[in-house]
Point group: C2
Chain length 345, copies 2
DNA sequence: CTGAAAGCGCTTACAG
DNA sequence: CTGAAAGCGCTTACAG
């Protein structure tokens, strides 16, 4: 009567059941399972047999309560449906699983209240650590909440006034390479469409843009230097503004794939041919940019490497091996396709 | 000496601390926090004040251990970097959060061992339920593992020999609409490039393809009917085969965005113009298909609705309100863009 | 080396 | 209505 569908719905076996089954104490079995204390072969065989027979599975909640940690980390991102974050999540999960860590998804829609909420879960030890990517790095409330928190590693962007290990792509170099590529193709009238002005990733991308221009000497003009969100909507707006310019740029460097998607939409609509009418270099390279019209040249972020490093640093943090706060810059790469051609005016 | 960085590192306050602080028992405070037993205003004020003063946060592990559930569900998907699953994850997380459920990410790379592993975590009550999308529905080991499991809801595809609530898009109707659209444009020589032959989503898409053709009467020929993975690689291979045909089809219906991406790559490479040389309809519509060359017509899956329904059904399951196992079909939609034109031969 | 026992921080049946 | 106490299932310092 307590059974269901033929098989007896016995409640899960506990460590105690296992111990009793093989005439040992729970302490010994627990130690065997964790510390790998050396036990005579005969004993371990007996334990293994009992575990198999009872189908024993350790209760993770009991373990977490006792240990004070959960062997789980969280990944805080603005939007998991964004391909860049989806790729990052895949990389992070992969690395985390390798180290026996579970991953909980913490999408924020860039709302500070949700970010604070996840920080609260960390404080509550719901997760052992938080991999954090935010667009609100300039929000003092965030910085304040981060003060107490250990076991946070920032990805992509730092948070003003906070020291925490930070993993990022070398955005400055990316901006430089992109712009340099445009310059090399002969462009002299450029536009930059960036992300939020407050974000360091964004600042660094413009920084690289300016460095390349400075390096190229005189004769280069910046037709527009826009900032906004890393979003298609921002890309659309930027494209409108650029097309409305009396003296249009012949090339544009856009600081994210999403921005480029938006720009492409209005270019297509206005029949502006990418490559021939206006050259473009994107940044991220997570979408299927090779299938666009034309295939888009882009700076590729080292997403997989970033995910892995973030997890590794987190592990060190959790183990208390925390070195002084560092920020690591991972190398980007210019992927040349077909959206940059020499200007024809 | 126990402090760190200026602020005293007091250990987290517990329910006991709160109770003592306001001269009540832990039982009362716990009840107040959970059952909302009615207490005099003065009392609740005292409790609230104590909670605020001590910055009390309930320990989720203790709660989970005591309750035997974790208020967390898992989302099992082949690959989170795939935009379709990324969108699904966003939808699921959104709905889950609304009901106070956390979401842990369980990517499998379609490996059965990983799928079984996650099922193990469910058995261990690590998560309260599992939203499960698999490409291995024909694997008997999976079906066996699923026997005991309650609190599993399948998404997209059922698993042979298993009864579990299943949420899916109306793939048959999708296949029908796509094919019908091709037929309406005048195509008489069609190809179908599908997913794994063993998957019901795949079978249903071909099913709709055939229904539309049957309905159109005679004079329609099926130049190719391929199956494989829902992947770009499969799309590439399929495109190669189709282009090698003596008598090429004038239109193709491909059963996923990913497949189409692969096909586009080889079409581009061989200078086969989509729309004019070969018409195509995709399935999923999660990528930025409107930005492709040309913008792609596709069947759109109701991803957001599926995520939400899956969570709702899961909630019912968890509460034990489980109705008899159902499979729900959510409506798809034909999004007409520019990749289908009349054949010119 | 091994075990009895305390402790992790909740929830809730059981008494008062 | 309220509280003392048992229980959830682990881990591990402390004794033997």
């Amino acid at each position: 009567m307590n059974g269901k569908q033929g098989q007896p719905a016995r409640k899960n076996a506990t460590l105690k059941d296992v111990a009793e089954a093989c005439g040992l104490s729970v302490a010994t079995v627990s130690r065997y399972l964790n510390h790998s204390i050396k036990l005579p072969q005969a004993t371990t065989d007996r334990i293994d047999a009992a575990i198999a027979a009872l189908r024993y599975q350790p209760n993770p909640h009991a373990r977490s309560l006792s240990l004070g940690r959960s062997e789980t980390i969280g990944l805080v991102v603005p939007d998991i449906a964004n391909p860049y974050f989806a790729h990052l999540a895949a990389a992070v999960e992969h690395a985390a699983a390798e180290f026996g860590l579970g991953l909980v998804l913490c999408p924020t829609l860039s709302r500070t209240d949700r970010e604070l909420d996840y920080l609260g879960r960390l404080a509550r030890r719901h997760v052992d650590g938080l991999l954090f990517v935010t667009n609100n790095g300039d929000d003092p409330a965030l910085a304040r909440a981060l003060q107490g928190a250990t076991s946070v590693v920032l990805i992509d962007d730092d948070i003003d006034g906070t020291v925490a290990p930070t993993i990022m792509a070398d955005s400055e170099q990316g901006g430089y390479l992109a712009t340099r590529h445009l310059l090399d193709a002969g462009h002299r009238r450029l536009a930059y469409v960036g992300g939020p002005a407050g974000l360091s990733s964004s600042r660094n991308r413009v920084g690289g843009f300016h460095r390349a221009i400075a390096e190229a000497g005189s004769g280069i003009t910046i037709a527009a230097e826009l900032s906004g969100e890393y979003s298609a909507a921002n890309g659309r707006a930027a494209a409108e503004r650029i097309l409305a310019l009396d003296n249009r740029p012949t090339a544009v460097f856009a600081a994210s794939d999403a921005i480029v998607l938006g720009m492409l939409a209005v270019f297509k609509q206005r029949d502006v041919k990418v490559g021939t009418d206006i050259s473009v270099v994107a940044f991220d390279d997570v979408g299927p940019l090779e299938l666009f019209d034309p295939p888009l040249t882009a700076i590729r972020q080292p997403v997989a490497a970033m995910g892995r490093r973030a997890v590794e640093v987190m592990l060190a943090l959790i183990k208390g091996e925390a070195p002084e706060p560092v920020t690591e810059l991972l190398p980007v790469e210019l992927i040349i396709r077909n959206s940059v051609k020499p200007p024809h005016r």
